[in-house]
Symmetry: C2
Subunit: 647 residues, 2 copies
């Protein structure tokens, strides 16, 4: 159900899902409403006037009886329940001219896998299948071993010849066959192509072909995601996530690699990520009343360091020049051997990586996004501490990792923080009053600014002309929002009384420098890689943004600051957690499982530091949006318009 | 060095190895010397007179100064050091006529593997090979993963393409490559044929191609044998054995299967045999200053129950009709997963079995003895509680297990015992005086009679005409050696003062009945199996005796009692511990490793209880040697001669 919402005096009407939060919807629609407390309802600045229709509004002491009766509400406390018309009060009003600020209309939620499309295209074909067989009970004249009897049955009833089997299955085979009165369900793994024959993965008593599940796991440096797949129904049942327990040993891959070299460090890291997976998995299984025995297999994608840590492989050389991983493809491993609380028939199918810094998470995303079979020249981006880039199409793929630094994860930014509760994620600034509108994750009092918030803030500062293309904060304005701090001038985003810490939240020139270096590394990465394969930015037919961070980026603002190239907006796509989706797809498609290694080996790795041109491109990109303004025509135009209007 | 030894008054001269024991040599030569204490030197009955030459003789108080100076010695206390002539004193003398008693001249030691012959015949070709590679260190322009670098090196320097690898190797690969300064030794496993590619089993720093070892293990119900093989030199370095620790849970397979069904029983049995292997293995490794890391792989043969117990596979259905094992071929298992104290690169290659009672030990023996590639019709026998029989040639093989019962292992025989210290293993009886000559294992005071001793005793009783063809003990002789006991009449083999227990050691009619049933089951097995494949005993071109017990059998006596068929003696061969030898051969020959499964599947299993004719043949064999005397012409002739002479 959607409702129609009209913002006056702008006379802008949008259609949005019922139940959404009014402040958030306004922000998404590009309507500025002053807001200092992130949406918690304690600053009382985001007042609007309900002109008609209804709002499901919570009331705080900040709205007097008189105001309430007149129709005043706090936007952050309102949920949309019907069509409504609201009036943005004068103190929040932007000059009409500034409403050129556009938000890209691309959905912010990670896109789910379109299983129906997968089925239509013939890709839905799990490598793991359950087969029910009725066997003849043994007699003294036919007393071949249980395994041979089962193999005979599978050969006769399912044309499955010369199977391989894992010896652990034999520990239960005798019991299972008798428990099922010689009627059993065999799980067959067709993925082990290089071993020629299908593999008999599991045997269960009776007909349980309808109970057939897989787990897909994405191990991020910060977050571990687990997806539960119903292979019998062809459905993604559920997912769950939690922090990667390794966080307590270090925030990023480098600190974890360093920790792995301490006494027992590798084991501690190995065990803690396994504990995270176990915990999330059990939560998911419990929620669906399943047991670990119902799981047939586990597919997994992770960056190279996370992969090596999971398998207890020393990651030391990932971080030392010349940056070699131990192995880009990890052979099948019994889940239990790694400490996962799963029965012995469950093996881990791990997506191959390309190099130390282009890992299985990226390959998995490439698989999920289908670039490797798309004729269009595509740029695939996963922004994090190491921003990974893939460029290519069905014929070739080139990739690189950019050392963007931790700025987009809040590192090196004074009030930077991860995208957790209290992080400012949405910002707009009234170019006349310089008053901000801030929205935080969970709409609580602000604590800091997360990566997407930083991009939005930087773009808003540019647009309000509070910051110059070289990153310097204006010093000629008479506003308390700008002042001199420890790291140059700074903009005060939230004042002490409105913040969780009771201290002002600011963005300083020092912070801006760090953000510029981060975005410059990424941008120089695209340009360098394209140049080395003979293309330019304009040749890109598609840009895919992956990762939790990528999914929360406001494209328009990311282009405005020069993090993303200035291309027609319809060329941009969000793939969401591409790594998790790729892992899930592997569980669903035998062909993809067979292709993953080929796709990884298709991806030519470039070490940017060793690639001609990179340093020049990097230096050129240390500007907002870029020293070559012709590369950002729409940004240029918008800023120009803005400046014209402001004059 | 051999010495010549002449026995007077018989004027028999034999050539024997220097250092041998005189009493044992006499026994082997068929010379009877009264001896009651098994060879411990305490009965003083085995006195002989040294006529010329020298003997290295220990002196006890049982030989007076006068006697000593005259040249009297206790035969059991003498070691041969030079040519010598001795006189057997009158009290030990047999009537010259009885010297027709013949011993087969076949060596009693288990035959070793003829490695040179193996090499000459092209069979010496271990499936596991070490390859040294020098790799180029990585640079920023060539920073592929360590594994790919190693694979490249192996492909270029040893033409090894598309290897498979076990993920555990990756845990050390990075370190190994750097420790060896990019010079490493790879162990390649060529045995995994069904997986198409060679397998990269292990990686070590530097050139260690000359340090390459394997273990071959035979798990007997009673004894565990481990052989240490040097694959670099092509030598069998050493072996060691010990009791199977499972003995404390039951003597034979049936009691162990029953125990396995008790709470934690299976785990206890699994752990105890593993503990035995570990202990023997460590002893062997220590003796040669090797570490478990020097071992490349482990080959193993055992009967079906021992195999299932080792892998923790419930053996319940082996013992219940219709007697199905869970699996006849066990896939590769990581030694460590079973609890063996070996590094993760060591896998177990287990010889396939045929059925519940024809196990991998028999298949291994068939491999070792080469029947499967021999054109001659061969009978292969392993006598134990379950006597296993294989009949066939290069084209076909038939096999069966006979429930001989535990008689030949000393079970069900009042003074029966295992072949351990103090067991009477050799017996002869003076047909005139009925005085015995007994020799025990370790030549200590007798404790009981082992299987081979029982065969020899039964034959001696027959030859001395103390026992009738129906197994009844003569009651018409006036000798204290024969008396009535609790189980019918009995022969007193050793009197209380000469035994360890201080009680008489006897063989009763009840014991004889049990022995007859055991030998009848075996004999009926050969005949039935032959009949079912269209042959008779006379068609047998070769008889191979395997197993510890088989190796200690006196062929002549075994034929005399009807346990073995009466064929020309040169058709008999001892293979020794065929199971261990087969396991060792698998470590040495890639072709045999590839053939073992085929050979096992070549062996058609017969359930004797279900096979026509068996019960009749069994009943017919409940006689000494057999109801159809024409089946035993040489025995018949000898007994006839004996009777003529005795008259």
């Amino acid at each position: 159900m959607t409702v129609k919402l009209t913002f006056n005096p702008y006379d802008i009407t949008i259609e949005v899902p019922e139940g959404e939060n009014l402040l958030r919807v306004a922000s998404d629609a590009g309507i500025h409403i002053n807001a200092s407390c992130g949406g918690e309802g304690v600053c009382g600045k985001c007042r609007i006037l309900l002109e008609s229709g209804e709002l499901d509004a919570a009331r705080s002491g900040l709205v007097s009886d008189t105001a309430w009766n007149m129709g005043y509400r706090q936007a952050c406390q309102c949920r949309l329940v019907s069509d409504a018309v609201i009036q943005v009060p004068p103190e929040s009003l932007l000059d009409r001219r500034t409403l050129t600020r556009r938000r890209s209309g691309i959905a912010l939620r990670p896109s789910a896998i379109d299983l129906d499309a997968l089925k239509r295209s013939g890709f839905y074909h799990p490598a793991f299948q359950k087969r029910f067989v009725k066997l003849r009970p043994p007699t003294l004249h036919d007393n071949i071993c249980d395994l041979a009897r089962l193999e005979q049955g599978l050969a006769r009833q399912h044309a499955l010849g010369s199977l391989t089997i894992d010896w652990y299955q034999l520990q239960k085979l005798g019991r299972v066959m008798r428990e099922g009165d010689y009627e059993v369900t065999a799980t067959i793994d067709y993925s082990r192509r290089r071993y020629r024959s299908p593999h008999l993965l599991n045997v269960e008593p009776g007909d349980v072909t309808q109970s057939h599940f897989a787990l897909a796991v994405d191990i991020g440096t910060t977050t571990v995601w687990v997806q539960l797949v119903d292979l019998a129904k062809g459905e993604i049942l559920d997912h769950a996530a939690d922090y990667n327990g390794q966080i307590s040993y270090g925030d990023d891959v480098i600190t974890r690699i360093i920790f792995s070299q301490t006494d027992q460090g590798l084991q501690k890291l190995q065990r803690s990520v396994v504990a995270s997976i176990n915990q999330i998995m059990h939560r998911l299984l419990q929620r669906h009343q399943l047991s670990p025995n119902d799981i047939s297999h586990l597919t997994l994608a992770a960056n190279t360091t996370m992969t090596q840590l999971l398998y207890g492989i020393d990651p030391t050389y990932i971080r030392l020049a010349p940056y070699t991983p131990v192995a880009c493809s990890i052979p099948l491993a019994r889940a239990r051997d790694l400490g996962l609380e799963l029965p012995p028939h469950v093996f881990i199918y791990c997506v191959s990586s390309v190099s130390s810094f282009v890992g299985g998470d990226i390959v998995s995303g490439v698989l999920a996004s289908g670039i490797f079979k798309d004729p269009r020249l595509t740029l695939y981006i996963d922004i994090g501490t190491n921003g990974e880039i893939v460029i290519g199409n069905e014929d070739w793929l080139a990739c690189a990792a950019c050392s963007a630094g931790p700025a987009f994860e809040g590192g090196g930014i004074h009030y930077g923080m991860r995208a957790t509760s209290g992080a400012i994620e949405d910002v707009s600034i009234n170019p006349d009053t310089f008053e901000p509108m801030i929205i935080t994750i969970d709409m609580v009092k602000p604590k800091g600014i997360c990566g997407s918030g930083l991009i939005n803030l930087l773009a808003a500062l540019m647009e309000a002309d509070l910051i110059a293309p070289n990153g310097r904060v204006r010093d000629d304005l008479n506003t308390p929002r700008i002042r001199r701090g420890e790291s140059g001038r700074e903009y005060v985003l939230a004042a002490a009384p409105d913040t969780q810490s009771g201290r002002d939240i600011t963005l300083s020139e020092g912070d801006v420098d760090n953000l510029m270096r981060a975005k410059a590394a990424m941008f120089a990465g695209y340009v360098t890689l394209l140049q080395n394969v003979g293309f330019t930015l304009q040749d890109l037919e598609q840009v895919i943004l992956a990762g939790a961070f990528g999914s929360s980026i406001n494209i328009e603002n990311a282009i405005a600051i020069g993090l993303l190239p200035d291309l027609p907006r319809n060329r941009f796509q969000f793939v969401g957690n591409g790594s998790l989706q790729g892992a899930t797809l592997l569980a669903l498609s035998r062909d993809l499982l067979a292709e993953e290694r080929r796709v990884a080996s298709m991806m030519t790795n470039f070490e940017l530091s060793e690639t001609p041109g990179f340093m020049n491109h990097y230096t050129a990109a240390l500007f907002l949006p870029h020293t070559q303004m012709e590369l950002f025509p729409t940004v240029n135009e918008r800023l120009q318009n803005q400046r014209d209007k402001n004059q």
